[in-house]
Each structure stands twice: as C-alpha cells, then as structure tokens.
Symmetry: C3
Subunit: 431 residues, 3 copies
C-alpha cells in the first residue's frame, strides 16, 4: 500500500482547526475558580491553600507526562524526535480537550471552573493517549495521533464518570488510566496490524545512547509516581498513605524486576527493556488501592508481584500477543500498563473486600474494572478503524520507526545511518 505522507496541509489545518475550536469552547464554557465565583459556603482560605499545596504534586505529574512518557519512548534508535516531540503535541492538545471533556460532567452554573484539581485531571487524561501511543509507536502519523487524542479522551472521560457513578475507588487510576489506555491502544493496534512487520523491522531496536535517554523517562516516572497516585487523594492520612504505599511498592518492584530480568536470560544478563519498564509496574499496580489502609507490607507485596508479572509479560507474552493475536505492541504497554493495571484493579477488589477503605464495595470495584476493560476495547477498535482510513499520512511499512519521514533530521546523523547501511545492507527509502 502506498500513502501520501506529506503532512503539510493535513497537520496544519487539523491542528489549527482543533485549537481554534477549543479556544472558542473555552471562551464559552471555561473560567477560573476564584473566591468570587466559588461557592460562598466554602472556606476560601482553604481553597487558596489547596491550590498552592497541591501545585508541587501537579508539577510532578506534569514532568511525568512530558518528560517521563516522552523520554521513555526514545529507546528506539531512529525515533527519538517523534517519541518526545509527538508526545508533547498529543499532551498539549489532550490537556485542553481533557479539561473540556472532564469538565462537562461537572459544570457549575454551566461553566467549567479551573482549579488545581482540574489541571491535574487534565494532565491525567492525556496519560491514556500517551499509553496508547506506546502501543502504536512508530506506525502512525502525527495526524493520526491528534485524532486518537480527541477520540480516546472523550471516551476516557465518559468511562471515568461511569466508574465514579458506580462508587468505585481508583485514586491512582490503575483501571481508568493504565488498563484503559493499554487496552484502548492494543485494540487500535490490532486493527492497524501490519503483516509485513511481523518479523521485525531494521529500525525497531535501540542504540546505546538511546537506551540512556529512555532511562531519563523511566526515572522521572519512577520518582514522581507517588505524586501521581496521591495528587487527587483526600487531604490528610489518605494522601499520605497513597504516597507511602507507592514509594514502597515501587521499591519492591525494582528488586523483582531485576531478579527476573537476570533469571530469564540464560547468561544472566539484565535486559534494558525490563529495567526501563517493569520497574514501574509497582506504581501502576498499587494505584487503585494506594489511598487504602493496606499497610506498607501490603503495598510492597503488590509491587513484588507486579515486577514479576511485568517482566514475565515482556519475555513470554509479548511474542504470543504479536503472533497469535496479531497485536504489535511497540513499547510493550500490555506489560507495563495492561497487566499491572488489571492486577491493580483486582487488588482493589480484594482490598475493598478486606475493608481497607470505608464505603468501598468489592462488587462495584469489579464492575468498574470490567466496564473499563470493555469500553476501552470497543473504543480502541472503533478508533482503529477510523485511523485505518488511508488519508491520515501514515508511514509505509519500510518507513516505520523512522523520524525522517515526518521530521527534518540532521544530515550528519552518522551513527544511525551507518547502522542502517552497514549492518542491514538496505537503502533507506525516502518519503
């Protein structure tokens, strides 16, 4: 199949059109939350403190979204510009659209009132798309990703509202962000399956320094995950428990991820793919019950299991998913967000059953997990079919995982060029 990959008018018209539409909608619907328009019964001083108290946690989440997700995906040798650059584009659009889509479910006098929690949630909403981006990384155009951002965040906001309506608790969003983003992306990737890539692609690998760039992403995600899981928790002990639980879950997860990475290779060597990703599974898996009274012991147990499940997933499940289910999951989001997200949702069911959070019902936790999974898959499949239309400038198979199809790449890019020609004996196909 041949595509027209010149995005000159597609990208510019779509981006400017969407931005103009959003500015108009903001003009109609969005205003600051200030003491003036806030509920007069509310303690104004408290609101002021809440904003500045939560602002550091917001900034931690912000770093996770833009540096964490962005650099985590720079492991590919020729796809760093797109990873970090399209990540920025998606997230910048997504946080605006998320403000609208989430805000429409919580209007005050017909208005969306911006406060720090709205900003944190807007950043959260972009995370779903960035997770899905990981599943289709290297095989989509920026235009496709803008469309996915609009569609996925719309569905996400509805599902999130449904989960709240069910009375389920998911403070760190194991279900509503991680499982949702993963299965939405995997469903879309299934529809976008490319048979000619089933034996791999010359660009689908890392070089030494690209793996180090990716570690920047890993570490900022790892360090700030306690903020992610606690940012919207109730002030006081629940928020503190969310921080403590995530801190210890992640620490335990690192040990098992390293152990199993070494154990699974016959020569006992560590695999950067596991270290970059499976070390984070403890943050995903402890999300749902982060603010529950599971004890540091409980949190570490969850992290312990998550590190094992994730590493096993990368080693054994990803090849099966690719060959049997025809899902090409570039970054292995199934192992970092999918499985640990389900693990987190299941842990939430168990914790609710054990009474770890007053008012939480295990049945409703389970219903939320099931609904999230179902809605993500259906949403992802439908989005996949829309993205499959051959008009969005998607890359031809030989140009997958290659920045140069959408970016001006420096000519003196010695290193990857050499690899390409010397090691694989193929001529680069120009767009």
């Amino acid at each position: 199949m041949s595509y027209e990959t010149n995005m000159r008018f597609k990208l510019s018209v779509l981006a400017i059109g969407l931005q103009t539409l959003i500015i108009i909608l903001f003009g109609i619907f969005v205003r600051y939350e200030t003491p003036h328009n806030a509920d007069p019964q509310t303690n104004t001083t408290l609101r002021d403190d809440t904003f500045i108290d939560l602002y550091p946690l917001f900034q931690d989440v912000h770093v996770m979204i833009f540096v964490g997700f962005g650099f985590l995906m720079t492991f590919l040798k020729r796809y760093g510009f797109s990873s970090v650059g399209i990540n920025l584009l998606i997230a910048a659009l997504g946080l605006q659209w998320g403000t609208l889509m989430q805000g429409l479910w919580h209007l005050h006098d017909g208005k969306i009132e911006i406060n720090i929690l709205k900003m944190i949630n807007a950043d959260f909403s972009t995370a779903t798309v960035l997770i899905s981006f990981g599943a289709v990384l290297g095989k989509t155009s920026p235009v496709q990703m803008l469309i996915m951002a609009i569609l996925e965040i719309t569905v996400f906001a509805g599902n999130e509202h449904l989960v709240g309506f069910l009375g389920a608790s998911d403070v760190g969003a194991s279900m509503t962000i991680h499982a949702f983003g993963a299965y939405f992306g995997l469903a879309a990737a299934a529809v976008l399956y490319r048979p000619s890539l089933k034996d791999g692609h010359v660009n689908e690998g890392s070089v030494y320094h690209s793996d180090l760039f990716a570690m920047i992403g890993t570490l900022f995600l790892w360090m700030f995950w306690p903020s992610f899981n606690s940012a919207i928790a109730e002030h006081g002990p629940p928020q503190q428990m969310a921080i403590i639980n995530t801190y210890f879950s992640l620490a335990a997860c690192v040990l098992t991820a390293y152990a199993f990475s070494s154990l699974l290779e016959h020569n006992g060597k560590l695999d950067m793919v596991h270290i970059q990703n499976a070390t984070l599974a403890g943050g995903v898996a402890v999300g749902t019950c982060a603010d529950m009274n599971i004890g540091p012991f409980g949190a570490m147990t969850i992290g312990f299991i998550a590190g094992i499940v994730s590493t096993l997933g990368f080693k054994f499940l990803t090849p099966i998913v690719a060959s049997k289910l025809k899902i090409q999951d570039t970054c292995g989001v199934h192992n970092l967000h999918g499985l640990p997200g389900i693990l987190g949702g299941t842990a939430g069911v168990a914790a609710a059953a054990l009474g770890a959070k007053p008012g939480c019902s295990p049945i409703m936790q389970g219903a939320a997990l099931a609904a999230t999974f179902g809605i993500a898959v259906v949403g992802g499949v439908l989005t996949g079919f829309i993205l499959k239309l051959p008009i969005w400038g998607q890359p031809p198979d030989p140009n997958c995982y290659d920045d140069s199809i959408y970016w001006e790449v420096p000519l003196d890019e010695e290193e990857p060029e050499n690899n390409y020609h010397n090691e694989h004996g193929k001529v680069k196909i120009e767009a």
Copy 2:
C-alpha cells in the same frame, strides 16, 4: 584577526577576583531575613509559611535556569560542554551579582535581607544574561560571558527598578527579562558581527542526539514556565491565575508551532528548531498579563498567536536580520524571547486598557516596554564594544561553535570528528 585563546590566567584571575569581591560585599551588606530582623509589624508566621510555600516554585525556576537554558543550547553538535557548562558559570555568578544589584534598590537598615523572593529574583536576573548568551553562543569566550553577566545584570536591575517606578506590571517579565535579554544580546551580537561567518560555519548545526539533549531543556522550560510567571505574583487568585494562564497559553502555543512548522516546509516535515523554541513562546508572551484577569480564553489566544509569530520569525526573519542588520543570532533568541516579549508587553497594554488588573495604566505599560527596549539596546551596544576588545580570549572564526578551544574534549569523540572530516573535507584548526 588572531586571538590569544589560552584562558589560563584570564579566567582564573577574573573568576576568583569577582568571587572575592562578592564575598566581601556580602559580608558588608547581606544578611538573612529572619523574624529577628524583620519588621516587627509583619506577621512572622506568615513569613515562615511564605518561604516554604514558595520554595517549590523557586526550585522550578532554578531548574529552568540551569537545566532548561543549559540544555536548550546543547543542540549544536560540538558545543554541548560550553552550552551547559558556561550556562552554569554565568548563572552561578549572576545570581550572586543579581542579589547585590537588585538588593541595593531595596535596602533595609542599609542591609540586603535574603528571603525566598530575593532568591527567585536573583535567579530571574541571570535569565537575562542566559538569553543574551543564546544570541552570541559559540562566538564568545567564558571570560567575555563573565563580563557580560556583570554588566547586563547591573543594567537589568536598574531597568527593572524603573519599570516598577513607572507603576507598570510585568509579573512574568515578558518585558524586563525576555525582551530585555533578547535585545541586549542582539545589540551586542551586532557589534560583535563576524563577516566571515555570514555563510554559516561547519559546526553550526546539530546531530541527532544533540537535538534530543536540547529537548531536555525545552521540556523543563515548558513544564515549569507556570512557576516562572507566578513565582512573584501576589498570593491567592493572582498567583493562581498566573499559573492557569501560563498553562493554557503554552498548550495552545504548541499546536500552532507544530502547525506552522509543518506548513512552512514544502514537504510538510517538522523542524526541530521550531519545536525546541517556538513551543515556548506562549510562556514568554503571556508573562506580562499572567496575573491579570484575561481568562483562560485570553491566555490561549495569546499563546496561539505567539506560536505563529515565533515560527514565522525563525523561518523568515532570522535570515533577514542576519543579512540586512548584520546580527548573527545563534539560537534565534529574537524569535523566542524578542518578538514574543514585545507581544507580551503589547498584550499587557491591551489588558490594562481593558481593566484586567486594577490600577494598571496602559500608558505606563507602554512606557515600560519602550524604556526596556531602549535601555536594552543601548546597554547591549556598549557591552558589545567592551567585549570587542581583543583581549578576552574570544575564539577565531574557524574555532567558533567548538568546545575544544576552551575544554578538554575526549579524544575518542568519534561522531563529530567523522562529520567534520568526511562531510566537509576540512581539517580541524587547533587552538
């Protein structure tokens, strides 16, 4: 022209001399602001809370100064050590000198009393020099940059005081930092014009990984800009508005920067220069009216325009400025700080006219913008003439944009060496 570029005694004597002088001045003039020496009428408890409440915002600004500006300039293939290293040197000197120069305008009992606002402002003062550094990057010695830091911060502090005296508002410093730093640097660059570089230089470009390093700078600037624009805002709604406005202005700016980057290339490809820089113009442009009641709608409109103006500037204005005005602007600071700074100042005039901040006069806003521009140009020209003296170890033309003239560079630096020899067929000129 031939220069003596060995900095062994010039740099060490100047650095130690300046540092010794500063320590003596600190011994005479500087003390902590503590409840003991603070105004007894002031609420001491509040002061304590202010310090720790604003400390996270200070640290965000700190990251912008040292990692943001430092890495943003590492895009050059052979000039990363200087970009991030001389950035550190300038800023470390500048924050000390800025403390003195700004503090002299606000003495208490003949003393400068250090608190968190003084530290934020000290970091701010270094930003002006780092912006100017971008204009002359690759064409100056560390010794010249130390001199520029001393001179520019002295003038900056005076202009900042004048702007305050005029009663103009500039919370995010579109005028006093961004426009000032840009036009000061451009004026100096005009004086330091090097005719032999008018057709470019073999080192004046990026390689693949240097562009990724630069994205570290871009992202930390982008993420923490809401802190920059709000750090010295009035506590409560003004500070919250400054955060919200900057957040949304930057998001809108990303969309238009990507759109115009793609639109301006006939093949529709994105240009890393635009992505690294123009995506930040929304933070600059919303600075002056960040704490004004312009609404999220207003903020996004400013960001929307800034992304377009900045990208157009890189594409069309930079070549004209170089050929007609004889100003070689290495990093394109005119497009990231100059034009968006003027845009921000102008938006401040308009917002003041619309009554977006009580007590703000559009006339005084305009006067502040004009004064800032004039003082920056005059100060930059005078500084340029001082820096032009052939005694500061500046690099000869063939050694511009080359770390190895001032740094021990690893011998096994394969990649850029190869580029230099293979692609350009020239022999490296040793200092």
Copy 3:
C-alpha cells in the same frame, strides 16, 4: 584470576531473598504514622501540614538520589547502563533497608512509624552506598553492590545514631553521609585493589555524549542540594538558613572550581571531570553548619574553599592515592565527598566554637567527625574483605568498566565499538 560472571541465579536469588525478608520484617515492624497511632499529645494538624510541606523537599532529594547520583556516573563511555541502572537497584533496596535500620533506633510501641521524615532519611541512607559505589564503579558486580548496600547501611545507621547520641549537629550530613560514604568506599576499594589496572584501562574514559549525560546528574544534584541540606532541619529560620546557605555556598564553589580547573591546565582549558564534580563540593562542605547562623558570607567562604580543595584533589591527590595508597577511586569520591566532607565537619567544629548554633559543642562536633571517619574505614575494610570472596560474579580485569558483562547491550552500538577497535587495536573480551 578467573571469575564466573554469570549472575543468573546469584542475582535473582539474592534479590528475591532480600526482598522477601524485608517484606516480612515490614509486616512485623512497620506501619503508617497517622493521627490514630500518633502520640495523642501531638498536634495532629501540624503533622498533616508537615508531611505535605516537606514532600517537595523529599522529592528533590529523591531526584538527587536516582537521577543525580545515577547520571553523574554515566560519564564512562561504556558503563552508562550500570551507572544509572545499578544505582537504581542499590537505592531501591537501600531505602527499604534504611527504613528498617534507622527505624530500629526509634521504635514507637515496638513499631517503625512511617512519615515524611522517615522517607527522607531512608533516601539519605542510600546516598552513602551510592557514594561508595562511585569509588568502586566499574570493578564490582551487581551482586557485590547489593551486599555492600546491606552492610554499609547497617553500619551507617549505627554511626548516625552515635553522632546523635554525642549531641553533634550534622543537618546536611557532611560527616555522616559524605565523609562516611567516601571513606567507607575508599577503604573497600583499597581491599579490592586490582594491580593490573594501575596504568588505566581502555574503557576508563568518557566520550562526548557520555559527558553530557553526566551533566544531567551534576545539575540535578547542584540545583536540589539546598533541599538535601534543609529537609530535616527545624521548621522556620533554621530550615530557611539551610536553604540560603547552601544556595550561596554552591554558587561561590562554581566560580572557584572553574577558576582552578582552567588554572591547573597549562593551556587553560576546562576539564569536565572538575566541572561535573568540584562544582558540587560547596554543597557537601556547607552541610554540617547549613542550619547554623554562619551568615551568607560564611556560607560563601566555605563554598569558595571547597571548590578549590576539590579541584586540587582531582588534579594532584587522586594520582597519589592511586599509586601510593593503592586505592583506585573511579569517580574521585575522595575529592567530591571525602575532603569536602571533612572540610564540612571541621567548619562545624569552628562554627560551634563561634556559637553559631545554640547548644552545639565543638568538642562533640570533632568527636563525631573522628568517630565517623574511624567507623567508615573499619566498616569499609571489613566489607571489602567480604566482597573480595571470588564468588560474587565480579568482572575480570579486562571486562571492567564494561556494561556488556552484566547487560544485554545493543549490537549496533557503533560508537564505542569503533573506539575500542580503531583506537586501541584490541579485541573485546567477551564474558
């Protein structure tokens, strides 16, 4: 000597065993500190505010531990995976073990109660091992480092308790972390001396981009050091002084580090080793008296001296320590943590004598410094002998400083491969 370097079962069994043990100990001994189990006489509201107020400082320290230390050591051309990856492994284990070892000295009802100060201290305890890691970097296996982490943190917690028992003040831990970690690591390195490496190793150097990666570590350490030195200081003026003192000490240190780096080379060029390390010595050296009333003047003087001492150490002392004392200090931790740590302890003695902190005795400060030095050396020697047992998978001499012995390294790693073959004419020895 020949070693079995396949870590498949050693690493996995040790990591899983330690993690399982820790989870059991956490189940028995560790719980949250909440109003419920906190002392009823304590102001609950204050405790809540303390957690969220200190959380940003905790996160700054967290970034220093994982990104700061991790990337600082990526300067080696072939050892980036290990630097940043084993740093993560050590710190993830260490913060759990540190929670237990430090907590055992401060039980409440037989329990360790987790709060934000416990988390900050847990992170602190890992810093000692990461400093020692710098001394033996490239010459140890991950298994050895896990063992060192367990042993060193156990000794560290005891020494820290002793220092507190003596009534000595060390808020920024110049003595208990920096000097302790350095001399512990140097003592271990002395025992692990490898004669065949005395003339250097082909891998023991940097490439251009590895030096830039290391600057990421340097800058995050530099920027967040005020948080490190103030995180556990008393709320109010002492904490504010700790921030201010560290800020200015570090700034002064940069100037002298640059000055002496240039001065010590006959051609006046700057050396990246100095810039990456000696610029940080001001943070180490001001640690002990950070919360004392030494004045900004005093803080800057300490930083001024530290930058000189550290740079001189790198230039003149490291070669002597290697040749005469047979201590191969890969990262030069003696110059960054050892000497400045002793300088900091000594400054603490002087400040106490001058009455800069009420209740501080110069004699006890001196006793704490001496005890710390002695315990570190004895602990390090004993640990060195345990690590010397030829069963921990340590690398053979030719494979030192080489990731590929413990990591799957991308085959297309052009750059270092070329260097290795072309410049040194040697064939890589496969593990």
